[in-house]
Symmetry: C2
């Protein structure tokens, strides 16, 4: 249970601290000619903020895509520009229902999103599909990277599929997905589906940015659950037993009952909402209506009780604090002198020749004074 | 799910950062006359480090108690002295088995510790009982504060009961309990029992400092579990259903089976060890032998597989990193200018007039430059 941030040994990620350090202006005024000009100089073909705003609010798909690219950019000169754009978009955000989907590899997440997304589009809803994949910086985007995985949905003009951004900066995937979600809301999507793989802290991160979180599983709860990460069941507002079709259906029903029994003993993921299991067959597009109705019931219940709004506010607050923690870790663990001295102190503590407290004290002395 | 550290709104705790800032020497050489002299000047009646060392290693109980008082002291001039003493003790630490005990109020934790501790003393073992109670800074020590709760054990000369320290400094209860544990090991205790109440993160903190962790519960698993904190079941190497006596015994057996069924579906707390439920009656001192045998079996299994040593090493590492995180949070959230500006930025984000990212960026600019 090493508490070092996951990125600690992974190269030397850029982050916005460097922007701060180098003193680049980050004036929030989107009409600030300095920023617009600086941006224009670098990317003469890119729209200015007003053009972006107009494009996104009037449903120009290519403008949305380019704005997301801006958000996802790891280039420093894009950072303040993207923030200024987001600032302008804020009043138009928050109206979609945000749904998180996770599940072990092989549970059929993309087949499910294809089926569920298509169902929603057929209801006349506009659906954005995003992904959080912390491994994407290594693999170059392992989920949603291939649009052919959701061929039908990707051709639907009510749907928009955006693969997982690469990390690049610290906490980057997290930030980029959140901000992309906001742009999609401003654009007018009704439903945001956020897919994630069970890597690192990704489920927790997605749970913290969505209203409703579901876990897609296969039949045979016992075996599967034992391999599942701790606490994941307690994040889910619903468990969906997929592949409930053909000869597999009785087993799926048994699995559903099993999950319901376990969830009965766990704390609910959402106050006032009883998490429960359902079955579906993504392959045959079965059970989509029931799931959507479940989500609508969830939305109604939690909006009535105030839990919906309360969670959104808590998420925003938490978002600030988790970014602060990311930055603090970065500033400490990438402090040149600290980085150099840390292994020595750690070894001394591990060897029993120094107390942990004194090691930390020394490291902080270095951090503060050098 | 506010991620601000728990102490954020609670006054202005001192911590060792202030020691660093004020440039107080923290030379680790315990024989350093400067430190000894400084200490002597302030506390002329206190033993010097060599006297402490000799006293603790030769089983002088009052020396142990005074050394723990030194560790627990929130006075800055005690800090480096205590660390130097600990440093000297390090080679003698690590030989006890460390056992954590938690449970909802009313589960009978003190009755259990009284019974279990007495059983161990009767086997000829020396037992130290410590407590982690993060609320103790407010309540003045709500657990183990009253030794009459464990009257029999407190009179046993093989046992030593130490109430929860007050927090005082950042992460203070945590640090003080860990360091007290080390002193107790150097003194020669064979078993360290660490009791905790279910407040804040205390179970996680205790789990991170012990080898074996058990959860004491009452009959009626279903109802009780539903009120239990998320993830707590997955921390436990054993669940003990207490008050399995008289007419309550059949219900206790049923509850035990229930817990075993749930734990079957959860990830084990310790690699290679199947967490299980047992029954006991602390009041009638029943089941103590079985629990001790379970713990011995756990010790044997995990020492053989290397998991025991692996966890201890991981705990030490983690201890360093969690202290670093505490300190980083402290240095940020108590930064005068940051502290002053934070509410304004937070309000702007909550009101939707500023992006979270830009708020954090501005706060870091303040943190770094002012």
């Amino acid at each position: 249970m090493d508490k070092r941030p996951e990125w600690f040994d992974g190269g030397n990620p850029e982050n916005f601290m460097s922007v701060v350090r180098k003193g680049v202006q980050t004036d929030q005024g989107s009409t600030n000619p300095v920023i617009n000009n600086r941006f224009q100089k670098k990317d003469r073909t890119k729209p200015n903020i007003d053009e972006f705003e107009k494009g996104i609010l009037t449903g120009d798909r290519s403008m949305l895509a380019r704005a997301i690219t801006l958000i996802e950019s790891n280039a420093e000169h894009h950072f303040s520009y993207a923030q200024a754009l987001l600032q302008k978009m804020l009043p138009y955000t928050g109206k979609a229902i945000r749904i998180g989907i996770t599940g072990v590899p092989g549970a059929g997440k993309s087949t499910f999103i294809e089926a569920f997304g298509t169902y929603l589009c057929n209801l006349g809803l506009k659906v954005a599909v995003l992904a959080v994949d912390p491994s994407s910086s290594i693999s170059g985007g392992s989920i949603l990277g291939d649009k052919t995985r959701m061929e039908q949905l990707s051709r639907n003009n009510r749907a928009y599929i955006r693969p997982s951004p690469s990390a690049g900066k610290l906490g980057g995937v997290h930030r980029k997905t959140r901000e992309t979600m906001l742009l999609c809301e401003a654009y007018g999507f009704d439903v945001i589906l956020v897919e994630t793989v069970g890597v690192g802290q990704s489920e927790v991160i997605v749970r913290e940015m969505v209203d409703f979180f579901m876990l897609l599983v296969l039949t045979g709860a016992g075996d599967e659950l034992q391999g599942m990460k701790k606490g994941i069941m307690e994040l889910a507002d619903a468990v969906l037993v997929n592949k409930a079709d053909g000869p597999n259906k009785p087993l799926a029903l048994k699995t559903k009952a099993e999950y319901n029994r376990i969830m009965h003993f766990l704390q609910p993921a959402t106050k006032g909402w009883k998490s429960r299991a359902s079955i579906c067959s993504a392959l045959y597009h079965e059970g989509m209506k029931e799931i959507w109705e479940l989500i609508l019931a969830f939305e109604e219940t939690t909006k009535e009780s105030g839990v919906f709004e309360e969670r959104r506010r808590a998420q925003t607050k938490e978002w600030i604090y988790s970014m602060i923690m990311d930055q603090l870790q970065y500033s400490f663990f990438y402090h040149q002198e600290v980085k150099q001295q840390l292994p020595k102190f750690e070894n001394e503590v591990m060897a029993g020749t120094r107390t942990a407290t004194s090691a930390v004290e020394e490291l902080f002395r270095i951090y503060i004074t050098k």
